[in-house]
């Protein structure tokens, strides 16, 4: 088995495992991504509670582990030990299948997400289409969950949710097309739908697409950014789960581990749509200014960022460790927090090794960009009230959709401005 790995590393570092065609190697990547995303969801869970808490002048989880670090684990254990209730009159088959569909749909998107030029499970030349299609499968899961529960609140939640996701998908698609348009602005005149290809196109055109044809790229990005919040049912578009109206929306009747699958799916979807936005508009895995700040010195400077980040985290952890109460009761927690900082230092040191340092560059920048998006998600949740359903639909159909069509047309015209100019020129001269 190491043969596969060495083989891959030696010969085919420029292709993704999918293109390499080795099922084993693909499986390794799949497990890595699956585990990584699950871990990210756990971290996100803790971070969301902490950040939200601090925005709201409270502490958030503090009891399980130092600063509540073990809270997600405690939650997981609790959820595992909870009874799994299938309500009376529910269509049990559909009821049990629904979270699975949502999860599979949420995770399948990761097949095409490029964490780096080679760090993707596979590269499809219809990557964007695949992502749009698979993420639209989530709607089915939601409708099924709501319908199967045989309860009013989940049904209304599911209908709302599907109508909402479906509405914003149109705007999302239009925004995506205007990014695809930009990829074909090369001498060959051939664009691509491949996720890796889109990032490479941004590299080739020396700009992130968000800045292309300013403000067109930015508007398209904005449309996508709004639509993705709506697609993931997050505040301020969290109507399907509006707890004050529908208690918990389509997953009201779910409990225990099965309920946690919905949460897992939701957070996984948040991460995946953020990655898509990053891939399409924010240069994907590229570090900032890859064209401007070139040269070995800059490369070295940027390659130190991962290690520095972890050193920073470690410093924060150590600072908190020092600030822990000196009471013997907290001794274990203090030691735990210190050990946590130690782990950070260790990771940082590993990241200083030149080979590793270069290897994680792409993934680091990608994850860093995702982190910004996730922070924005949390920030929205702490700031905005919830939209009402008709307002939500109005934003989707009457604001984002025309905006999307407009941006698309404008981008097309901008992309062909020389041809148009030539044409007009010729007309005048004839």
């Amino acid at each position: 088995m190491p043969g596969f790995i060495t083989n891959y590393l030696d010969k085919n570092v420029h292709v993704t495992p999918g293109q390499y065609g080795s099922p084993f190697w693909a499986l390794v990547y799949i497990l890595l991504v699956f585990g990584g995303v699950s871990l990210a969801v756990v971290c996100m869970n803790w971070l969301e509670r902490k950040i939200l808490a601090h925005m709201q002048v409270r502490l958030g989880p503090m009891r399980v582990g130092p600063h509540g670090l073990l809270q997600p684990i405690a939650d997981a254990i609790k959820l595992i030990l909870k009874e799994d209730i299938v309500p009376e009159g529910a269509d049990s088959f559909v009821f049990l299948l629904a979270p699975l569909i949502i999860l599979v749909a949420g995770f399948s998107v990761y097949c095409v997400i490029p964490f780096g030029p080679t760090h993707a499970i596979t590269d499809m030349n219809i990557g964007i289409l695949f992502m749009l299609g698979v993420s639209s499968l989530g709607v089915l899961g939601i409708v099924m969950a709501g319908w199967a529960s045989n309860s009013h609140y989940p049904l209304i939640g599911a209908l709302r949710s599907s109508a909402q996701m479906v509405s914003y998908e149109v705007a999302m698609g239009l925004a995506v097309i205007s990014a695809v348009l930009m990829t074909s602005l090369n001498p060959a005149g051939t664009g691509t739908l491949s996720m890796i290809g889109i990032v490479q196109a941004q590299y080739a055109q020396h700009t992130w697409f968000i800045f292309k044809f300013f403000p067109l790229g930015f508007i398209a990005f904005f449309i996508f950014a709004v639509a993705m919040v709506a697609e993931t049912n997050r505040a301020p578009f969290d109507l399907p789960e509006a707890e004050s109206e529908l208690t918990a929306g389509f997953h009201t009747e779910y409990s225990g581990l099965r309920w946690s699958l919905f949460m897992l799916g939701e957070y996984a979807a948040m991460i995946s749509v953020s990655s898509i936005a990053i891939t399409l508009w924010l240069g994907g895995w590229m570090r900032p200014f890859p064209n401007l700040l070139q040269g070995p010195t800059w490369d070295l400077a940027f390659s130190l960022f991962p290690a520095l980040t972890f050193f920073g985290l470690a410093a924060m952890t150590f600072y908190s460790t020092m600030r822990m109460p000196k009471h013997p009761y907290f001794r274990i927690q203090t030691i735990g927090l210190g050990a946590f900082g130690g782990v950070f230092v260790l990771i940082a040191l590993i990241l200083l090794i030149p080979r590793v340092r270069d290897g994680v560059q792409d993934v680091y920048w990608f994850v860093a960009k995702i982190a910004v998006f996730l922070y924005l998600y949390i920030w929205y949740r702490g700031t905005f009230p919830r939209y009402r359903f008709d307002q939500l639909m109005r934003v989707g159909w009457k604001v984002l959709l025309p905006l999307g069509i407009g941006v698309l047309m404008a981008t097309g015209i901008m992309g062909l401005r020389t041809e148009i100019w030539d044409f007009v020129h010729r007309l005048v001269h004839i």
Partner: protein
């Protein structure tokens, strides 16, 4: 069977397995679609059918069509189906008889269809003596574009009229107070 389209980075893998797996899945779920009493279950089975057909498109090196299949049929039309199914009274439809009693026309139609299949199988080789136009997978979308926007330009524009009619029809039929 697909070796003819071999490209360096798109080597076919386990073609036979996937073919039988996907087509078997399509047929099985297709049967489920018509035998399930509960229309929602039928719809779910139909989704599976559509997905496996999408897989078959992939095998034919037509990823764009596969993507369209997933986005439009699974993500769009099936959601619409589910909505409509939920609009009707499922309890009632479950109580009703699944098949009506039109046995004779049914059998005749089945025989006719079977005959057609057999004919196609027998005569097909003669009709399609040449292999289908080869289409490198990497350029599939671009090729579709070329076809659509040059050769089939007029039908394409007609399609937009069709969509317009669909919009108007939907609104007129569904909206009570216009």
């Amino acid at each position: 069977m697909c070796t003819g389209w071999y490209t360096s980075d798109m080597a076919p893998v386990a073609t036979t397995f996937f073919f039988y797996f996907l087509s078997g899945l399509a047929i099985l779920s297709g049967v489920l679609v018509i035998t399930r009493k509960n229309p929602v279950h039928s719809a779910l089975a139909l989704i599976l059918t559509l997905l496996s057909v999408a897989g078959l498109y992939l095998m034919l090196y037509a990823p764009f069509v596969a993507g369209v299949q997933i986005i439009l049929y699974v993500g769009g039309i099936m959601v619409l189906f589910l909505f409509v199914i939920m609009l009707v009274n499922i309890e009632r439809s479950e109580r009703e008889k699944q098949f009506n009693q039109q046995w004779l026309p049914g059998i005749l139609a089945a025989c006719g269809l079977g005959l057609l299949f057999v004919l196609i199988y027998v005569k097909g080789k003669a009709l399609f003596s040449q292999p289908v136009i080869t289409m490198p997978e990497t350029e599939n979308t671009q090729r579709v574009g070329m076809m659509l926007y040059s050769n089939y330009m007029f039908p394409f524009e007609i399609a937009s009229l069709l969509l317009l009619v669909a919009i108007i029809g939907a609104v007129v039929m569904a909206k009570k107070r216009i």
